[in-house]
């Protein structure tokens, strides 16, 4: 019994070593309306799609924190597992910190940095 428990722990170690924080990838395209983007979000955890999460998407400008609040949008599940869709109505072009508040199977808050232009958004490079 003890050996079996030990074996289970040893087998579980690589899993435990993986990041528990979900990972997120964002893809946004302009709707054609100024500063309004349709965004698709892919959420994974332990390398697998994270399904059933309630996701709220907000945004803030890193160069002017607290001063450009964007009304958070509730994301709806997409067609693929782990996919969520939301419409972002920003105030201007430039770099935005996208804030994802997760509830449901995982409760977390993720912050992603994207550069928004007239076509869509790209992850910020430093």
């Amino acid at each position: 019994m003890a050996k079996a428990a030990l074996l289970l722990i040893v087998l579980a170690l690589p899993l435990l070593a993986q990041a528990q924080t979900p990972e997120a990838q964002l893809r946004c395209e302009s709707t054609g309306q100024d500063f309004v983007y349709d965004c698709t979000l892919m959420l994974t955890r332990f390398g697998r799609p994270l399904e059933g999460a309630q996701v709220t998407v907000g945004a803030d400008m890193p160069s002017m924190p607290m001063a450009h609040s964007v009304r958070p949008a509730r994301a709806r599940p997409g067609l693929k597992p782990g996919e969520y869709k939301a419409r972002l109505d920003l105030e201007m072009l430039g770099e935005w910190a996208i804030k994802l508040r997760l509830d449901g199977p995982v409760r977390d808050l993720l912050v992603l940095h994207y550069e928004f232009d007239s076509k869509g958004a790209m992850p910020r490079k430093r």
Binding site: P62, S63, P65, M66, S69, M92
Partner: protein, 295 residues
């Protein structure tokens, strides 16, 4: 109350701390463009203590305030020899030095299998004390609001005391204050330390609200806004800076009437107030008139 309203109210309260710290220096006769540095010191110190060393937030906030006070005291020691614009430029230079130091700071440790801590320009992610302790956004707004109310009450008490009169005397005419035996340098150093502690308290609360900070959060824009809020709102009472924050974040921002042009409207508002009411909407004369009318 929906998430957006809670977010806007929390931002108003958080901004108020740094606006009050700029106001405190203004009534002592000094214009600082560098309060964002001490806001940043508080944010980084508080975040490091709760995230990397598992300190409880209240204790981390106290330590961050102490560090903010010491940091601004040390900056004030040489810079308070300067006057007016020279002092303002020196505080701006100190704030930029602090921001560059944040960019150079790498202080990471493995927490729960993940690296956490400040990572230079990549920022500092995962300041999760609020999240891990199950504090909902509305409760956090309550905590920030109570702390702001305590700070305001302290300001109002000081303003009605002999210390308040001394502060205003030092601010309006330091030579005259010195001639009646007031140690102007000592008073200003004390004010600088208190302003640093107040800005740091705002910073630690901001870092835990946002869960993520980076050096660019603490650049000149934040300093200019904090000063503008105090100047627009008025220097007659501690409610002045709050009025400034409410006008900008509460009215211009949350209604989003002007969309991306808000900053132009805000800049124009600052210019108009400085021309027609150089000591702000709630200046000393207006506050005196209001007191007489309602007392």
């Amino acid at each position: 109350m929906d998430d957006y309203a809670i977010g806007v109210l929390t931002n108003i309260a958080l901004f108020s701390f740094i606006a009050l710290s700029a106001y405190l220096l203004l009534i002592a006769g000094e214009m600082s463009f560098g309060q964002q540095a001490f806001f940043g010191v508080g944010a980084y110190a508080g975040g490091i203590l709760t995230t990397l060393y598992a300190w409880p937030l209240p204790l981390a906030a106290l330590a961050a305030m102490a560090l903010g006070a010491v940091a601004q005291f040390l900056v004030a020691l040489p810079t308070l020899r300067l006057r007016g614009l020279h002092f303002a430029m020196a505080t701006l230079a100190a704030a930029e030095m602090a921001r560059i130091l944040f960019e150079l700071m790498h202080w990471r440790r493995e927490i729960d299998g993940e690296l956490a801590g400040p990572d230079g320009t990549q920022g500092f992610r995962g300041i999760r004390w609020i999240f891990e302790h199950g504090i909902e956004p509305l409760h956090y707004l309550g905590i920030v609001g109570v702390l702001l109310a305590l700070v305001l009450a302290l300001f109002l008490m000081i303003e009605r005391s002999k210390l308040g009169a001394t502060l205003r005397g030092v601010g309006l005419d330091p030579e005259l204050a010195a001639s009646v035996g007031i140690d102007v340098q000592r008073i200003k150093l004390g004010v600088a330390a208190a302003a640093g502690a107040l800005a740091a308290l705002g910073g630690v609360l901001y870092a835990h609200h946002n869960t993520y900070i980076e050096p660019r959060n603490f650049d000149i824009m934040l300093g200019v806004h904090s000063l503008a809020y105090a100047l627009i709102g008025g220097l007659g009472t501690a409610f002045g800076p709050l009025l400034g924050v409410l006008l900008d974040i509460g009215t211009l921002e949350s209604t989003r009437v002007f969309h991306g042009y808000r900053m132009i409207v805000f800049g124009g508002l600052v210019a108009l107030v400085l021309v027609y009411r150089p000591r702000g909407l709630l200046d000393e004369r207006t506050v005196q008139w209001l007191r007489q009318r309602f007392s």
